[in-house]
């Protein structure tokens, strides 16, 4: 990086991309991303692309070449529980390490935080949120709720216009990430072409395969310091395969909920024979019966009434 100090930089100056990469500490974040997020290949590829672009831009700047600040507003589309929020958090970290945003915090908002309740309430409310997000990432969850075509007097439109304006004018102050379910986001972008064209990166989050969900379950259990008995492992695989076919399947979130319920059942199983002495191992192990008791295994599959499978027992 000594060549950087020479001014003006000659045509034959050498630049070391690898050194820049090491200096930015982005590798740590990407590694963490790889370790904590299972699957999501297209997402990871795109993140790596963005990283390379920003790194090359850093070097271009050092070489005295023109660097148009790239527009990094993104939209994350995907089914529930595919890791949109988690990736957004990591994204803020990565952009911070690359020096693209100054602070690297993430402000997560929904429609309620942006749209006001009466005339003249929306603009200050939206600006307030934007001010808070400056220097970081503004994550708008379920962004399609901002636009309500059935009510033409809805204030959501005003929030969208202010957002558009800020996304254009304060490009180096904040990055906006819109997130939501695929079909509804598509409809949202179709009715707001201005929004769609200002977002450079449309990233689709694919559903997880059952293999990936097993890996996710494994990670979650490790974090919670539990483990599955060999029997429980195959039962959980069966559970996931059955659950995937049912409506309102929420990917990793469903798995988390299933594990939480298994913990509940494990606790009551242990409590039922509380006179026996327990080993540390007993406290950690989830048995097949803890998972088997789930309603997912009841035949025939019961009619689903809950939303997103949150209340499934």
């Amino acid at each position: 990086m000594n060549s950087v100090l020479k001014d003006p930089v000659g045509d034959d100056a050498r630049f070391n991309l690898d050194a820049a990469f090491r200096d930015s500490h982005v590798a740590d974040v990407i590694e963490k991303l790889e370790a904590e997020l299972v699957g999501l290949a297209p997402v990871k590829t795109r993140i790596r692309d963005i990283c390379s672009l920003l790194l090359v831009d850093t070097l271009r700047r050092q070489a005295g070449l023109s660097t148009e600040a790239p527009s990094l507003h993104m939209s994350f589309t995907g089914n529930p529980g595919t890791g949109k929020t988690t990736v957004a958090l990591r994204m803020a970290e990565i952009l911070h390490h690359l020096g693209y945003v100054r602070k690297g915090h993430m402000v997560a908002v929904t429609r309620d935080d942006l749209v006001g309740q009466y005339i003249g309430h929306t603009a200050p409310k939206t600006r307030e949120v934007l001010k808070r997000a400056m220097g970081g990432v503004l994550f708008i969850d379920e962004a399609y709720y901002l636009y309500r075509p059935e009510n033409e007097r809805d204030y959501g439109q005003e929030a969208i216009e202010i957002l558009l304006q800020e996304m254009e004018n304060h490009r180096d102050d904040l990055v906006v990430i819109l997130a939501g379910y695929e079909d509804r986001m598509d409809r949202f972008f179709r009715s707001n072409p201005g929004m769609s064209s200002r977002i450079a990166h449309h990233i689709a989050f694919p559903d997880y395969s059952s293999e990936e969900l097993m890996a996710i379950a494994q990670l979650m259990l490790e974090q919670m310091q539990y483990m599955l008995s060999p029997d429980a492992r195959s039962t959980l695989r069966e559970y996931i395969e059955r659950r995937q076919k049912q409506p309102h399947f929420a990917n990793a979130r469903s798995v988390r909920n299933a594990l939480d319920r298994a913990r509940l059942r494990q606790a009551s199983r242990l409590f039922a024979k509380r006179t026996a002495s327990l080993a540390k191992r007993d406290l950690m192990t989830i048995e097949a019966e803890d998972i088997r008791a789930s309603r997912v295994f009841a035949e025939p599959a019961p009619v689903e009434t809950q939303r997103e499978g949150e209340l499934q027992t």
Partner: protein, 138 residues
């Protein structure tokens, strides 16, 4: 007459970049910032008008600097200051306060003498600007 009030009062007017780094310093300390403006430059006038409410959970100077710029645009010919409040003692106490904008012309202050009983003289200070009603001073 150039008004000198608050921190950095004897320095030349701060540039936006300097204001930004001062704000950054305040944010690093966890202080909340607010923008205020006034037409009454009297040194004892502590009650300036608030331009919006104080900003508590901001992370970056850009948001506050933008508020300053908006305030300058709305009130191009007033005194504008940035205040920083520290809440570590349980109350929002003022830690830093500096001018970020001033009117184009500052007429200065007049010294008033009032004859009291006997040969007593009482002094008062009054800005020439405050002779006119509010909204027409600068």
């Amino acid at each position: 007459m150039r008004l000198t009030q608050g921190t950095f009062s004897f320095l030349p007017d701060l540039t936006d970049a300097q204001i930004s780094s001062q704000i950054e310093y305040c944010l690093q300390r966890g202080w909340a910032l607010s923008v205020e403006y006034t037409e009454d430059p009297h040194p004892r006038n502590t009650y300036w008008e608030m331009y919006g409410i104080p900003m508590f959970d901001l992370k970056d100077a850009a948001g506050i600097l933008r508020e300053v710029q908006l305030c300058r645009k709305t009130f191009p010919n007033r005194y504008i200051k940035v205040n920083a409040f520290d809440s570590t003692r349980g109350v929002e106490s003022l830690r830093l306060s500096f001018l970020v904008a001033r009117p184009q012309e500052e007429p200065g202050f007049e010294l008033l003498r009032e004859a009291g009983p006997g040969r007593q003289v009482r002094y008062a200070l009054r800005s020439y600007a405050t002779r006119r009603p509010e909204g027409h001073r600068y």
